[in-house]
Point group: C2
Chain length 210, copies 2
């Protein structure tokens, strides 16, 4: 755990805090597609993302989903953080986008570290800031952009996160993330292909130039 932890966080946290994290943190490895947090869960530990990526989803009363944003190495879930502190249920779902390594911190440490370590405070506030910014971004996207632009953005993000220009995903799953229908996605993807921006294959999409 030490090596991974250091790789991702040594330049953020002070020496002593890193040691504490090692002591009380529990490494958890989740497989692609695994649900890490479910809506309504009481959260009893705070996750530090060490390796991999997670997508954060919102669900409405009919069970329709919407992708909010991705988390990567060095991120934490401010939403979870927020839930920990407020001792409320999770408002979101977290799903592993690929195999992912996380260190779980028991919430008892939160209050303690916040008072004790400036680097921890900074990290927490930085996380909140990032997440608020990301939420604003999400709002911009759904409020101001058309579906074709949203789709392009989605493909870009996905390619970046997976560090691969070939995305293993079906039209249906894209539709779930964007909260639209499969037919609409197929239609727009076909248009993007005709524009030479992507290449469609079965079960995958090759990003050429978005």
């Amino acid at each position: 755990m030490t090596t991974l932890l250091n790789e991702a966080y040594s330049f953020i946290f002070e020496e002593e805090l890193l040691k504490e994290i090692e002591e009380v943190g529990v490494l958890r490895i989740v497989k692609e597609g695994e649900r890490i947090i479910e809506i309504g869960d009481y959260v009893k530990a705070m996750p530090l993302l060490i390796e991999g990526a997670i997508k954060i989803l919102r669900e409405d009363k009919d069970g329709d989903e919407l992708l909010l944003y991705f988390l990567e190495r060095g991120d934490t879930c401010a939403m979870t953080l927020s839930c920990c502190l407020g001792e409320t249920k999770s408002e979101i779902r977290a799903v592993a986008e690929m195999e992912t390594k996380i260190i779980m911190i028991p919430i008892e440490k939160m209050e303690e570290w916040t008072a004790k370590y400036k680097s921890w405070r900074d990290f927490v506030f930085q996380s909140y800031h990032s997440r608020l910014t990301e939420m604003l971004d999400t709002i911009d996207t759904i409020a101001f952009m058309n579906m074709d632009q949203r789709l392009m953005r989605y493909l870009q993000d996905k390619a970046k996160i997976n560090q691969n220009e070939v995305l293993q995903i079906t039209h249906q799953n894209i539709a779930y993330d964007l909260h639209t229908s499969r037919v609409v996605v197929s239609r727009l993807l076909k248009k993007l292909e005709l524009e030479g921006k992507i290449k469609l294959q079965r079960n995958s999409i090759k990003v050429i130039d978005l």
Copy 2:
């Protein structure tokens, strides 16, 4: 200032902190419609809302607006807070919904109080939590709801904030807040009137039963 401050915050902050706030805080009174924070502003003070209400807006590149949420007494703007701490520009616009009293806290105090006062830490985290929740709510609204539902929600919120079932507002201004067109708003309002939920008057809307 003392009385107002106590009314709004005495049950949140400890004695000593209240005294500090009184010492360094500056009371600011803004008139209805006044812009308190503009997008791109560097924020040099953190606002505590004492009396009145503020609406928080997002703007896209074409200048189109979208209402994010309202702030009321006892609230602070987590977005501003976030900007203060990160020393970044404001991502949002804040406009007084009515005459509003605010206490401005110099940002230098932020770090100090966060380390020193638990009640301050709790307040800050509570604020972040509220704002994240409100952002999720906003996302739900624009992602999952139709314009008629969004309009109803808007009227409800507005009536609550103004503590008045007669809303002084034009269709055009509603359209700005909801990021739609005046014609659409008029159309839907007329439908709501036919359903007996509101009563339309010139320059105002009476909420009957939403």
